[in-house]
Amino acid sequence: MTGGMTRPLSRRARVLLPLSVLLVVLASWEAAVQATRTQGLVPHPGGVLWSGAQLTANGVIFQAMSGSLARVLIGFLFGACVGIPLGLAVGAFGTLDRALRPVLDALRSIAPIAWIPMAILWLGVRGNAALFVVAYGAVFPFIVNSSQAVRQVDRRLLSAARALGAGRWVMLRSVLLPSALPMIFTGARIALAFAWASIIAAELAVGIKVAGHGRSVAGIGQLMVETLYVKRDVDALVFYMLVVGLVSFAIDAGLRRVQERLLPWKSH
């Protein structure tokens, strides 16, 4: 069906064609930067490669990455611990939904990143402000998806379970929870994507780490600010961007694998 009027490509051509296009683009990019002598302002593939090798060798990238990832993980777990029970309760009890909806909707409408100034004011720039923003962003996908999951539970399954003798506890643990799980998991993937996107933004906004306070762990965002203002190393910047993209891809792929393992009854 694909390919319009042309013949389908052979397997080798399907790999080689895009690869060679990429190589040509990179090579002409490199040549253009060399020819125009714009190194330092415009990044070029060779420089990115070189910076990448250096930052990997001296461990800077790993340190920054682990700082950011740790905050994402804590924020994500916080979002799950608060968001899942709250969402389940809101979905199950109409009164609670009525009572909390205006507040939740209002809070959800405020972009996490808009909290940065307040967070800095309250928590300082040592990474806690960024953590706050991440947790804030992660909590809502959990609430929204968990509550929706409970509302969408197949009533016939509830009837079937009741007819088979299920009491309250069995109903909750062995019917409601498993039937809500796939949707909660989708919420988790959204939450993690949110968290990873907002950690970079938050760290960029928090800015260069305050030196000399041993406790502060700079993240990838802070490293980028420092690279921009202090080191002016555009090649390193591009390297960081690539790593950020790669990590978010890896996180989602990992979660998808976990989902397949944990929820084998869903055809993904």
């Binding site: 016939r156 079937a160 009741r162 007819a163 003798g165």
Partner: protein
């Protein structure tokens, strides 16, 4: 012909009115139902679409309470579902996150039967309904017929006194349906004497199926559902041998006479 006269379910002046929570519109699904289900009988229920057959079953199952009259099971008013009244739905309603074995085990599990006992019971039933080898499959990996076998085994695992079956074979193809009819009869005890059989209440749209399986046929009229007729089916058992016989054909034709006009009217109303 000897029939057990002991009544298992008694419906007294049962009426059911649904009220939509959105626009407050009232739908009268059942009105003035007086009827008793005999212990050990195979009762089939037929009637035009929307006449309240599913509603009747769900009242006896205990999913809903009637808006008038009373429903008695073994002499006591029904309040809520009970494992003694097993239910099978048209749309399988299997738990998608549980395997075949997990689904069959659910009843005993919910009632706190220990793991070893419920495993053994589930395995026996899985073998009995012909799902051996599929224990570890999930419902989405099964054909329609296999899903219904699984739902049947799941219902049987609680050893219910009453089997409430709402069009259980409507979603499977004709050949599978014939095979499952025979197996259902076998599991119910078609070849045994009447007294120790479980009691079945089986809703169906298939009038030949209604005749072939039943000791009695409850014919409901158009909405609001009222009892139009109760037919005794005095055919010998086991029934599988009678499939396609002249007696069955004659009764089927008679049943069709009874419901034809109402079925046509129901369709005309629905398409308006």
């Amino acid at each position: 012909m000897e029939k057990p006269l002991d009544e298992l379910v008694r419906l007294q002046g049962v009426g059911m009115v649904y009220q939509s929570s959105r626009d407050g519109e009232r739908v009268e699904a059942l009105a003035g139902i007086d009827f008793s289900v005999r212990r050990g009988e195979f009762l089939t229920v037929v009637g035009p679409s929307g006449c309240g057959k599913s509603t009747l079953l769900s009242l006896i199952a205990g999913f809903a309470a009637p808006t008038s009259g009373s429903v008695l099971f073994e002499g006591r008013p029904v309040d809520g579902p009970d494992p003694a009244r097993g239910v099978m739905f048209q749309e399988y309603a299997l738990f998608p996150w549980r395997t075949v074995a997990g689904n069959v085990e659910f009843g005993p599990f919910a009632r706190g039967v220990d793991a070893a006992t419920r495993r053994a019971r589930a395995q026996t039933l899985i073998d009995l309904v012909g799902l051996k080898g599929f224990e570890r499959r999930y419902p989405h990996e099964l054909s329609g017929g296999m899903r219904q076998r699984c739902a049947l085994a799941r219902m049987l695992a609680n050893e219910p006194t009453l089997w409430l079956m709402d069009e259980p074979l409507a979603a499977v193809d004709l050949q599978t349906r014939i095979i499952l009819q025979d197996e259902l009869l076998r599991l119910w005890g078609d070849a045994r004497a009447g007294a120790q059989r479980p009691t079945v209440m089986f809703v169906t749209h298939g009038i030949d199926e209604a005749v072939l399986l039943a000791d009695r046929i409850l014919v409901l009229g158009r909405r609001p559902g009222r009892i139009k007729e109760v037919l005794e089916v005095d055919l010998p058992r086991p029934r599988a041998a009678l499939r396609g016989s002249a007696e069955v054909a004659r009764l089927t034709a008679h049943l069709w006479e009874l419901i034809r006009d109402e079925a046509a009217q129901a369709i005309a109303e629905e398409t308006q």
